[in-house]
């Protein structure tokens, strides 16, 4: 496949690794902020191939993991209603709510459907006029344009039985929350390439300047990640703290303007709670007044479903901020596994804990049995 295979070439990867090894003179800690990048790093074993002094932390880049418990419980409440067809991306089905997850609701007879695109949910609404169709609109900025389009087309076509349960989050405020934490060890960031494809990267310049951290917009294939790591380390070795664009074949500085325009029309910036981290001001998206009729939280009475406390053992918050690695959690691979997860980072395959569990059980186990 073009634009995929060439970025997985082992010989080219080796070049980058040799260059990285030749470059570093001291330990560095980098963070990548995208579940997709976490996935690629673990799938190809990139963190294993990097020199020992280079630490790659996995940040809060998985919107599945950071969706607040209350939102999951509301999704479950809606999906359990007999008059509702609940549509969601596959990622959300196994995220644990307070009592169960969407998959169990499906098992008990709820009409829960996985969709590939938000437009599929809209189509289901037009095909089922006698039912309410609710779409779980989660994601970072990458998914906002698609979700916005579904709501926009719903209003334009007058699809009255369609609504969205919104839990969108934004990356830059999350980066700042990580950097503001007193435990923060992150010295450089790999910014999420597809988020930047939509938003551009102009908003990262003030962050790089204020916190003096290099930020490299990075893609998702092994060569992209290695090159992103290389550029970030080069900046650190040279004492620079700039924004660079490794993923230039897809990302431009201004981003995708038509997408930003529609997102601004349908959504507005709101405060959001991040599961495991807490409230971050102006870090999420909610519907604008013009589209408020499509807000599932207004259309349905969900007042009974309020904020809940998390299981005490789950340190997902510390993992999301890169303060702890999953194997440092007491419950990791014992009481908390993908089959019976305590927190969202173990559920989503991109969640740091699940990714670690899946691919690192070998070395983690060897370490622990010593």
């Amino acid at each position: 496949m073009k634009y995929v295979d060439e970025y997985r070439d082992p010989a080219a990867a080796e070049r980058l690794l040799v260059a990285i090894r030749g470059l570093v003179t001291r330990p560095w800690t980098l963070m990548e902020v995208c579940g997709g990048q976490t996935h690629a790093i673990l799938k190809y074993g990139i963190d294993e191939l990097l020199p020992a002094g280079v630490t790659l932390l996995h940040g809060p880049g998985c919107p599945v993991c950071v969706t607040p418990l209350e939102k999951i419980d509301r999704a479950i409440a809606l999906a359990s209603r007999p008059d509702v067809i609940f549509c969601s991306f596959g990622d959300m089905l196994r995220v644990p709510g307070t009592d169960c997850d969407l998959l169990s609701v499906k098992a008990s007879g709820g009409d829960v459907r996985i969709v590939y695109s938000p437009l599929d949910a809209l189509r289901i609404a037009t095909e089922n006029p006698g039912k309410q169709v609710v779409f779980f609109a989660v994601g970072f900025e990458t998914t906002a344009p698609g979700n916005a389009m579904a709501v926009y087309q719903a209003r334009r076509a007058g699809v009255g039985n369609f609504s969205v349960l919104v839990s969108h989050v934004l990356v830059p405020p999350a980066l700042e929350a990580v950097l503001d934490s007193p435990h923060c060890r992150v010295q450089g960031f790999l910014a999420a390439g597809h988020v930047c494809a939509v938003m551009g990267y102009a908003e990262y310049a003030p962050i790089a300047a204020r916190y003096r951290v290099p930020i490299v917009v990075t893609g998702f294939e092994p060569l992209d990640i290695l090159q992103g790591v290389y550029l970030c380390l080069k900046q650190l070795e040279e004492g620079r703290a700039e924004v660079e664009n490794q993923y230039s074949r897809v990302v431009s500085e201004h981003g995708n303007r038509p997408a930003q325009a529609l997102v601004s029309e349908v959504f507005r910036v709101v405060d959001r709670a991040w599961r495991g981290i807490g409230d971050i001001a102006r870090s999420g998206l909610g519907l604008t007044e013009a589209f408020a009729q499509f807000d599932a939280e207004r259309r349905f009475d969900l007042s009974q479903v309020g904020p809940r406390p998390e299981p005490a053992e789950c340190i997902a918050g510390l993992v999301l901020q890169g303060v702890k690695k999953p194997p440092e959690c007491e419950a990791f691979a014992g009481r908390c596994t993908p089959e019976h997860p305590l927190g969202a980072t173990m559920v989503s395959p991109e969640g740091a804990c699940a990714a670690y569990y899946r691919h690192r059980r070998l070395t983690a186990r060897q370490g622990k049995t010593s």
Binding site: E6, G22, G61, L119, H194, F220, N256
Partner: protein, 85 residues
Amino acid sequence: MCLAVPGRITSISGDDPMTRTAKVSFGGVLVDVNLAYVPEVKVDDYVIVHAGFALSQIDEAEAVRIFDELSRLAPDLEEGGEPAA
């Protein structure tokens, strides 16, 4: 949050810019993709697709640059990735 895959546009249909749709090929598999956010693309262009939406056109020239930069890295490396003796 980022599973977006590059694919080649094989055909385009629809006059309304908001619902303009392409059949995009991923290794031979065709998927219907909304082109509202990439109004300039044409057949045979490559786009990055996420959840049924094209978010960006792939810039061939920029794609070539990574490999040019790579070849300038680790100049001691021979073909096949082994350091020169």
